[in-house]
């Protein structure tokens, strides 16, 4: 009986450790992504056309449950008066459970959390409809239809979904595209 219990505890322990490791990995991906995200926004060939009134770069952070994470990421990207292409950054928070803001169209959208298929589809549709760059730090999301993410191998590279970009009619700088990983 004690052996069965021990086995159950070991299995549960292993499962927990896997979850923790995965969480840690995703957290790192989010950390890296938040520094890469402004550079990707800047390589949109029509970046300047998408600025809002006052030449501000509006970045939309979409979350599901973890609002605090979204707020911390927003704080980091706007830290020390950072700019993109010399333009001021304006961040905006939106829950995926509520209708996404239709009046103030952002330059790019950042997914704060991993979303389920329905939620992700809503965000992708929104981004494609508005011709805006959609960035997700989470592994596998580019393959699910998100326009850009990161590829972590021996080096961290941008990872583009070319079909999604074409659907959203978003053009990326050719030099960067050549040095990035692409998904057909």
């Amino acid at each position: 009986m004690s052996q069965v219990r021990l086995t159950i505890w070991l299995v549960l322990g292993l499962m927990l450790s896997e979850v923790l490791v995965a969480d840690e990995s995703e957290k790192r991906r989010v950390d890296i992504s938040i520094s890469i995200f402004p550079r990707i926004v800047a390589v949109d060939n029509h970046f300047r056309e998408k600025l809002e009134v006052g030449n501000k770069v509006r970045l939309l952070f979409v979350y599901d449950e973890d609002r605090s994470l979204a707020e911390s990421l927003m704080a980091r990207i706007g830290k020390d008066g950072k700019m993109i292409g010399g333009m001021k950054i304006v961040t905006q928070l939106a829950s995926v459970r509520a209708p996404l803001p239709d009046n103030e169209v952002p330059v790019a959208i950042f997914l704060v959390e991993r979303l389920d298929d329905a939620q992700l589809a809503r965000v992708i549709t929104f981004a494609e409809k508005k011709h805006r760059l959609l960035f997700s730090p989470y592994s596998g999301d580019v393959e699910r239809g998100v326009m850009v993410g990161i590829s972590v191998t021996n080096r961290v590279k941008p990872f583009f979904n070319l079909q999604a970009l074409r659907r959203a009619n978003v053009e990326i700088n050719a030099l960067l595209m050549k040095m990035s990983k692409r998904y057909e």
């Binding site: 926004v41 800047a42 950072k82 292409g85 010399g86 021996n154 080096r155 030099l175 040095m179």
Partner: protein, 769 residues
Amino acid sequence: MNKMFSRLTTRVSFAMVIVVLLSMAVIVRHWAFVTAPTLKAAEQTKAELLITPYTQLLESAVDEGDESQLGDILNQLVLLEDVTYNEPIVLSLKISLLDGRVIERHNTIKRNTTPFRAETPIFSPRTMELLGSVKLEYNDAFYNRLIGEVWWEMGASMLMALLLLVAMQYWVRRLLRPLTELSNRLVRVDLDTQPSLPPADPALSTEILQVWQSIEQLFSRLRQRDEALESEHAAAQAALQAKLEAETASREKSQFLANMSHELRTPLNAIIGYSEMLYEEVGESGNAEMAGDLVRIVNSGKHLLSLINDVLDLSKIEAGKMQLYLDDLNLPQLVCEVMDNIEPLIASNNNTVDVLCDEKIGSIHADEAKLKQVLINVLGNAAKFTHNGEVGLTVERLTDDTGEWVLFKVRDTGIGISEEQQKNLFKAFTQADESTTRKYGGTGLGLTISRSMCQLMGGDITVSSHPGEGSIFEIRIPVQVGGGEDDKNSDVLAKGMSESLGELERQKSEASGLKKLSDNSPLVLIVDGDSSEIDLLQRMLGEEGFRCECSKTGREGLEKAANLIPALIILDITLPDTSGWTVLSQIKKNPLLLHVPVIVHSMIDERATAAALGAAGYLSKPTGRHELMAMVQGQLQTSDSSTVLVIDADVDARRMSRMVFENEGWQVTECGDGEVGMMRVAELMPSAIVVDAGLEKMPVIDFVEALREHELWRSIPVLVLTEETLADEYRAALLTHVDMVVEKGPYSLDTLLRRLRELMGAESSAAMA
């Protein structure tokens, strides 16, 4: 053996080459598809990792337009050197900016291979805008050298493996060569002569030399064993030869004894027979003196005959040719017959007789003649060695673990036998002592023969005695002596009967031309190769009122039998032209002679063969007058008595008929169907036939029609019994062939019996007339 080694070596070599080549292929494949790409990826990673930390420095320098700093960074990178192969790590660095400027640094190393490349974008740290890219060419010298060294190592290893393989093969062959040679020598060794090996080459290895010596030792032991076997074989051959010679001598002795006995008994038979006849004639004329002389001649002849018979019996026993003729014997009757025979001898020495045999003791299944001979011999001895005393016989039934026995205890109050004498009592040609022989006579074979006969029947004789106190001989015989001769004889008889029916068809035409003598006295046909024997039998039978016809050959005997249809045939076995057995079988195959009784009269004791071939009786030569007449008259009475054949499928009905007809003094033979009935008719020539109308295999009408086809059987009265009322037409058809049709009922047997009496009476009258 050599081939096997060669084949083995080739196989082993081939297998080893395959193993080595496969191992090499696995290693090369692993290197080419796993290790080398991994190394390549590792080198690529090193290139990527090298450029990454410098990217931020380069981005700041480019963003700030600080070209000197930019140059320093590039120079620093290009100067980096790998200490393992003393070459620069970076071959070239190239910064391409979006504004068209290009800044680059090169190491002037000529290479034939494509270096590893890493390229990364340069962003402005302030505006995050893309400024350009930096491209790095990473020196692949380390990778190329590593790859080259590994390939060289693998090639060298393969070469070494192949060399080792060749060397190993060489050593294996060298190791096996002496073994191959040894096996070749072993194959050539001639095991039929003197197995040995030539001396081993001293240059051979110690292990091989040891094997060589062991085999030589083995051969040495084989040689010793062969020699021992040869001497044993020679001894066995000599023993076998001696045994064969002894057996031959024994056979020849037995044959000689048998021949001599035959030759002696033939004239002796004439002497005894003629002496008896002379005695009767002289006795009638009243010449007492001559009669006394003739009695002495007869007694001496009989004594001599008994001695010869003993010798003949002994020779048969020794040759293993003594046979048993088993029958159910009524013990009280057997004892009476024996005592009738022996009592005069017992009385002659003024002895009294005491016989104890319960009348309800039952029967024994044994050989009557041999059992009588044993009892007469033992009782005769008791009588001979006892004077003015008592001789007793007690018969008891015993049951023990070994089965059920009959014990004949013969006791006397005679001279007795000492223990020393008892040891030799059952040995051939041995009596108690020489004085006994002189005083009492005899060959000393009687007890030997008696014991052998008892043992042949599964029993034995034992003796207990003290000198002067008499003796007790105990004869133990199993109640059921084994043997299936009776059944075998029945089978042979049945076969002979079946053949007879076939012969009947072929010879039916001959029947009409036959004739019977008109003389009323029974005709006896004597077939014997010995003229004196014929003469003697003829005179004996003639004196008893029989007519005799004689034949000296078998062929003539068969012709006379077929022409005369005698009432009886006396047949010798030793005939000049053919065997008496052939004559007997021919007689029994002829349907006209089938019912004629044949008495085999011979010196050859072959009762079983005679019975199997259908002989009605057997007389052993020489035959006494009384014995002959008893046998002849017995057979004629049997054939003369009226026989009724009852054919009915119902066993109970047959039994009832048998009881009724036997009460009338008729002999009854019964069977269950018409086909067997035809056989019985051919065999017995019955006086009347009573047949049931409901026969299954053969309808009664077919039976009677077949019966009436034969002239000899047309006169046999046939009476039909039926359970159902027959159709008028069928009844009328039956009555054309049969004498009466009776419906079964309370008085049917009475009706049948009255009619049978009438018919049998008429037949007797006809025969008398």
